[in-house]
Symmetry: D2
Subunit: 410 residues, 4 copies
C-alpha cells in the first residue's frame, strides 16, 4: 500500500497544517523525504483552503481572500537532488475524496481578481459541479456532462535565493508601472496571510515578507494551470535547491486551455499519487529553463470539435498588434455568443469554456497586425447537437436555470 506522506483534514484550517504553505521561499523546511524511484501520495486542500461552499450563493466567491492562495502541500525533499538536476515526476493518479464529490468554478469580481473576460462578466458568479465517477455535471449548467481531465494546477520545486530575488524584482518593476491598477499588474509579497509551513518566529516573519506569491507560473513551473499535466503525464522539473523541494496543490477536476475564468477550473480538494526520479545535471544536458513534459496516455477523448476563430481587434473595433491574448478573448466571446443561440446564458457559456476540456490554439502569430487564435469546443459533451445546420439552432434550454451571482458591495 502506497504511503500517504502528507495528509490533510478538510475540517481543519489549512493554516493549522504545517505540511502546507502558500508562498515560495527557499527556506521553507522540507516536510518529508523520499528517494528516487519512490512513489507516494499527497493530499491537497482546494486552492482557497475551503473558502468556497457547495451552495447556490456566490458571495463566497465575491468575498474570497486571494492573498491566502494557493495552499500547497509540501515541500518534499528528494534524496540526492541538487541544483541543476531535472526532477522527473510521474503523475501516477489523482483522485477525489469520497466525502467531497463536488468542485466549484467561479468568476471573480473585477474588483477582486477579475478574469479573462472580466469586462463582460464583472461580478462574482459561481457554479457547482458534481462528480459521478469519471464524469462531472452541474446543476447550474444543464445539458452538458464530460469526463474530467484531473490535474494539479500548481506544481514545482522551491526556488533558490537568486531565483526568488529575480522574481520579486521583475514583478515589482512591472507593478510599479501602474500601482493603482485594478486588477493589479502583479501580486507582490504579502506577509499578513503568508503560511510558511514549519517556519517559526523571526525566520518565518522575514521569509513571509519576501516569499513569492503563488499566482503566476514561473521558471520552476508553479501555477501553470496546464490541463494536460493529468494523471499519466511525466514532467521534468528544474531543481534549484538541495533536495528539490517539490510542492503541489490547486487540484482541478477539469479545465479548458487558458483557465479563462481565473477561478477557472473545476476546483477541488483531493489527493495525488506521484513517482520521482532524477536526471543528474539535466538542466544543462538538455538546456532546460522551464519544465518540459510528456502527455498522458489516458486523456478524455473529445475530438469532434466546433472551432471558433478570434483576431486581435477589440470590441470597440480598435486594431491591436499581434495581441494573442486579445485574439483568444475574441474567440472565447464568439463561442459564448454562439452557445446563447441554444438557450445558454452568457455566464453559462463562459463557465462551459472555462471548465470543459476545450483547446485554445495559437493559430497565427505573424500575419501583421492580427494574431489569430482558435477555441476548440468539443461537441460530444453536450446532450444535444450544437453543430450549425440550414435549419438554424434549436433552443434546448428555457433559461429557468442560471449561475448564481453576487453583486459587488459598493
Amino acid at each position: 500500500m502506497t504511503d500517504t506522506i502528507i495528509k490533510i483534514d478538510l475540517n481543519q484550517s489549512a493554516y493549522d497544517n504545517d505540511s502546507v504553505h502558500n508562498r515560495w521561499h527557499p527556506d521553507i523546511p522540507m516536510v518529508s523525504t523520499v528517494k528516487p524511484g519512490d512513489d507516494f501520495i499527497i493530499e491537497c486542500y482546494d486552492w482557497t483552503g475551503g473558502q468556497i461552499k457547495n451552495n447556490d450563493n456566490a458571495e463566497d466567491i465575491r468575498d474570497v481572500d486571494l492573498t491566502q492562495v494557493h495552499f500547497l502541500s509540501g515541500p518534499v525533499a528528494i534524496d540526492g537532488a541538487q541544483p541543476g538536476d531535472l526532477l522527473e515526476v510521474d503523475i501516477l493518479d489523482i483522485g477525489t475524496f469520497a466525502e467531497q464529490q463536488w468542485g466549484f468554478n467561479g468568476f471573480f469580481s473585477k474588483k477582486n481578481g477579475g478574469g479573462f473576460l472580466t469586462d463582460r462578466f464583472p461580478e462574482a458568479q459561481k457554479s457547482i459541479w458534481d462528480f459521478n465517477g469519471i464524469y462531472t455535471k452541474s446543476r447550474h449548467v444543464p445539458g452538458v456532462e464530460f469526463a474530467g481531465i484531473l490535474h494539479p494546477g500548481l506544481i514545482g520545486c522551491l526556488p533558490s535565493r537568486d531565483m526568488l530575488d529575480t522574481w520579486n524584482q521583475r514583478e515589482k518593476e512591472l507593478f510599479d508601472t501602474n500601482p493603482d491598477r485594478e486588477p493589479a499588474l502583479a501580486c507582490l509579497p504579502y506577509a499578513d496571510t503568508a503560511h510558511m509551513g514549519r517556519m517559526q518566529g523571526d525566520a518565518k516573519a522575514a521569509a513571509a515578507a519576501e516569499g513569492a506569491r503563488t499566482v503566476p507560473p514561473r521558471e520552476h513551473g508553479g501555477n501553470c494551470d496546464i490541463k494536460d499535466l493529468t494523471r499519466g503525464a511525466k514532467i521534468y522539473f528544474p531543481v534549484y535547491v538541495d533536495g528539490a523541494g517539490l510542492s503541489v496543490g490547486d487540484l482541478h477536476f477539469s479545465q479548458g486551455d487558458g483557465e479563462i475564468t481565473f477561478c477557472g477550473a473545476i476546483e477541488m480538494a483531493g489527493w495525488i499519487h506521484l513517482r520521482v526520479n532524477l536526471i543528474k545535471d539535466g538542466m544543462s544536458k538538455y538546456q532546460v529553463k522551464n519544465p518540459i513534459f510528456k502527455p498522458s496516455p489516458l486523456v478524455p477523448k473529445y475530438d469532434d470539435y466546433l472551432i471558433f476563430e478570434g483576431i486581435s481587434v477589440d470590441d470597440t473595433g480598435k486594431q491591436h498588434y499581434l495581441d494573442t491574448s486579445l485574439a483568444y478573448q475574441q474567440a472565447c466571446m464568439n463561442a459564448i455568443n454562439y452557445l446563447t443561440k441554444f438557450g445558454y446564458s452568457e455566464a453559462q457559456g463562459y463557465a462551459i469554456i472555462g471548465c470543459a476540456p476545450i483547446q485554445g490554439h495559437i493559430s497565427g502569430v505573424v500575419d501583421i497586425p492580427n494574431s489569430c487564435a482558435t477555441l476548440w469546443l468539443p461537441t460530444d459533451i453536450f446532450e444535444f447537437d450544437i453543430k450549425p445546420s440550414a435549419d438554424g439552432p434549436v433552443k434546448h434550454l428555457d433559461g429557468s436555470v442560471n449561475i448564481p451571482k453576487a453583486a459587488d458591495l459598493d
Copy 2:
C-alpha cells in the same frame, strides 16, 4: 470528372492570369459562378507567385517582394448567396502538381518582413522540402520526415464596402502610431503591385489604391494560416456581398500552429477541391462574426509529444503582463534550444517547429502577470529518439548540413 474552374500556368506570371488577385476589394469581378451543392477544383499559385526557387540559395527569400503577396484564385460567385448568409465550404481535397513536388520554408530578413523570432534569426534563410506522397522531408534538415497536413493558408469571401473601410481605417490608425517601425505595424494599401483580377482602367486604379492587403486574418477569415483547415474540414464563412466571392490561395503542405517563421509553412503551388452550400441568414441565426469550422477526420496522427512551456518574461529578464505571444516565443526558443542538443542548428530547430505539425496551446492566461503557452513537439517525426533520459542526449547530426542563409545587403 470534377470541373477545374480556375487554372493556372506555373510558367506564366500570376499578373497575367485574370482569375487571380492579390488585394481584397468588393468590386473585384467574379471569375466563375457555381451553385449550392456544387463541387469544383481551383488551382493556385504559391503565395509569392513563384518568386522562390528550388535551390540552395536564400537570396530569393531575402529579396522577396512582399507587396505582391498573396496571389489568390477567385473570386468565385455562389448563386443565391447574400450578405448575412453563411457559406458552408467543404474542403474535399488538396493536392500538389506532379511537376512540382517540392515546397519552401523561409525566414525573412528582419528588414523585409521578419518573423516570430526575428531578433534571433534576423537574416534570410530558406529550406526546401521534397514531397514523397503524403510525406515530406528536406535536404536542409536531416533526420525528420512527416505526413503533410495540407491546407490553404488563406481563404475567405470578399468584404463589403463598409467592411473594407473599417479594415483600412483601423489598420491605418495602428500604423500611424509608429510609422517608421521595422517591420511595419501594418501593411497598408499599395497600388503599384496590386493585381485586381479583371478590373480595368480607372476602376482598377481606384480599387488598387484602397484594396486591403491580404496579410492579416480578418473577420472574413482570410490569411488565418490555421493548419487545421485541411482536406476534410468544413468551414462556415460570413458572406458580405451578393454572390459571396470566395477566393483561396497560399496553399501549405504542412505547418505548425502559429506559422512562426512567417514564410512559415511549407509553401506550395497546387489545387484545392471544394464543395459549397449556404445557410441563409446564418450570421444572425448563429451570431457569427468570424468563420467557424469543423476539423477533418483525416489529420496526421502525431500524438506522442514532448511539450515545452514558456512564460511572458523576455530574454532580458523583463516581466511582461499576460503577453501570450511572448510566452509562446519563449516556448519556441526552449524547444529550439532543446533540439540543438541532438545536433540541430538553431535555424534547423526553427524550421522544424515552423513546418512540422506542432501544436501551440494557450495554456494559462489569467495568472498575473505571466501568460503560459505550450509548444507540443511530436516525437514520432524524428528518425531518432528525442525524449529525455538519464543518459543525456545523443548528437545524431554532425552539423555538416545547414539551412542556406543570405546576408542582408546593407
Copy 3:
C-alpha cells in the same frame, strides 16, 4: 457520497457472502433495489474468489477449482424493468482496493481449463502485476509498463426460464458430441460448488442443479471479456426478468483483445460504480439480441502499433477453411516469436499479449480458404524500441527473470 450497495470482505469466503452468486438462474433473489437514474457502487471478488496469491509459485493456478468461477456480485433489481426493455448501464468508474494493489495473470494447465495457445503452453504459469496508480508492471515480465483499461470481464442480467433452458440444451448437445474431450467442449451445470446467493434448501438445490455456468458469453452479455467495457462506457443490456437482475464481477485491470491466456486478463478484486436507466421495450424497438455499447472517452491511448498477421494454416501446415480463431492463434504466435528476439521468453511474450491493451482484428474472412487476423501490439508500452530496423534486434533482457511455472502432477 454514493451508496455502496454490495460490500465484500477479502478475508471472508465468497461463499459466505449472500450478495454473491456463481451461476445464472432466474430465481436467484435480488439483493438490492435501485431506481432508474440511480448511481451506486458494487464491490467484487476477483473471479476465483481469492484462490490465487501474490507469490512466485504457480501451483495455485495449476490447482484452481474452475467449477467455482465466477463469483458475481448481485443480482440488483431495477425498479420498473420488464422483459423486453433495454437496461442502459453507465460504467462511471472502476477501482482497486487500497489494500490489494496487485492482480494476476495465469496460463491454466491443459488438463484444467487450458487456454488459447494451450498446445504451446500446456503447463500452469502465473505472473503478478503491481498497480501504480493508472499504470501496471510485473516483476515477472521486465521492460513493459502500461496504463490499465479497467473493465468487468462479466456483466449482464438474469436469464428468463426459457433462456436458461435454451442455454443448457444447446450446450449439452455440443458437449455430448465429444464428452471425453480435454479441455471440455462446454461447462455444464454442476451443483457441488454452486453459490446461489440467498437461495436456501430445496429451491437452492434444484436451481443449483440447473444453474448455467458463467464461463461463456451469451445473449445477455455475461462473460464477454471485452476490454472496451471500461469506465466511461455505456452499455445497453437486454432484460429478461422483472427487475432485470444485474450482476457483475471478474474485474480486470487490463487485457488484450481475446483474453487469450484464459485467466487472461490482469485479474483483480475491486469496485465498480454504475448508473442505470431504462429504454422501455428497447429490444424490439432496436431489434437487439445481444448487448450493444458505446466506448468510453477515457481509454489509454496506445496507438503506435506493430501489427502481426496470421492465416488459417496450422503449425503442421494443414489448411483450414476460414478459421478465424486459428488465424488469430497464428498471429499471436508470430508476435510471441518476434518478442523472443528482444530477450523475452515465450511465456513472457504470451503474458504480454494477454495482458496489454493489444487489439485483435478480424481482417479478412472471405478470401477462401484463409481467414486473416491481425494482432496489434502497442510499441509504446515497452521501455525499449521494438520496431524492426536494418541493424536487427537488440536483446534487452538476459533471461534471468521468467514466469513461474508449476508442473502438472503425475
Copy 4:
C-alpha cells in the same frame, strides 16, 4: 517527378498488358527493376479487370468471371533482394484516376463466390460509390458519407518453388475433402484464364497449370484485404526469390474489417506510390513468417462507435465451439438488423458494414464454448443520429432507394 514504372489503359484488356498477371508463380518475369531507397508509382486495374460497370444493374456482378481475378501489376524486382530478406515497403500514397471517380461494391451470388453472409444475401447485388475528394457516398445507400481509407487489397512478393508447391498441396487436400461444395472450399489452379505476364509458349502453359490463385492471403501476404495497409503504412514482406518480385493490385477506396461482402470493399482502379528498402536476412533476425506492418499516421478518424456483439450460436440456435467467424457473422447481422430500424434495407446495411471503416474485433476466444466478436460501427458517417434513446429510432429513409439486385439464372 516520380517515375510511373507500370502503366495501364482502362480501355485495354488487362490480358493485353504484359506488366500484369493474375496468378502467383516464381517464374513470372520481372517487368521493372528498382533499387533500395527508390520510390515509384504503379498503376492498377480494379481486381476484376473492368468487368463491373457504373450503372444500376447487378447482372455484371452476377456474371463475373472469378477465375480471372485478381489482376496484379508487377512483379517488380528490387536490386539485391534475396530469399530470407525482409522487403520494407512504404506506401507513400494511393490515388484514383481523374476519369474514373467511382468504385463498386458487390454481393456475389451464392452460386458464384458468395460472401460472408451469403445465406442471408444469396443473390447478386451492386452499389456504386462516387468519390468526392477524400470522401465517398453512394446513390444506392443514402444518408451515409465517409472519408476513404485507401489501400491495396493485395500486395506481396513472388513465392519460391517450394512455397508454391506447399500452397497447392495443402489447398488441394482441403478441396478434396468436399469437392462438390458450393462455394468451393478452395480455388485451385486454373489455366484457361491465367495471365502469366510476359511468359510465353510452353513455359507459360506449364506455369499457368500450377500457378496459385490469388484469392487467399498466404505467408507472403497477398490478398490480405487489411484496410489498415493504407497510404502512410510501412510493411515488411518476406522475400522468397532473388529480386523479391513485388506485385500489387485490388485497390480499395474503403473497406471495413473482414471485407465481408467478398467483393467487399469499394473496388477501384488507380495508382499506388511506393518506396522500398531491404532488411538483409530479416526473416530470421526477427523470426518473421507472415508480413508485419506499422499503421499510417494518416487514417480517417471515426472513433465514436456503436458496438455490436456476436457469439458463436448460429441462426438455428445451434451451439458451435469457439467459432470466431460465426461470432462475427452474428455481430454483423445484429448491426444490420439495427440499421433497418432507421429505414435501411438489409442489403443497404450489409453494404455499409462492408464498405465503411468499421472495425471487427476478436473480443473473447477462450470462454468455452462461445467466441465473442464485436463489430464497431462509426456513428459519425451517418447524416443522422443512430444512437439508442428512450424515444426509439426515427426512420430517416423511406425505402424508395435500394441496391440493384440481379436474380440468379436458373
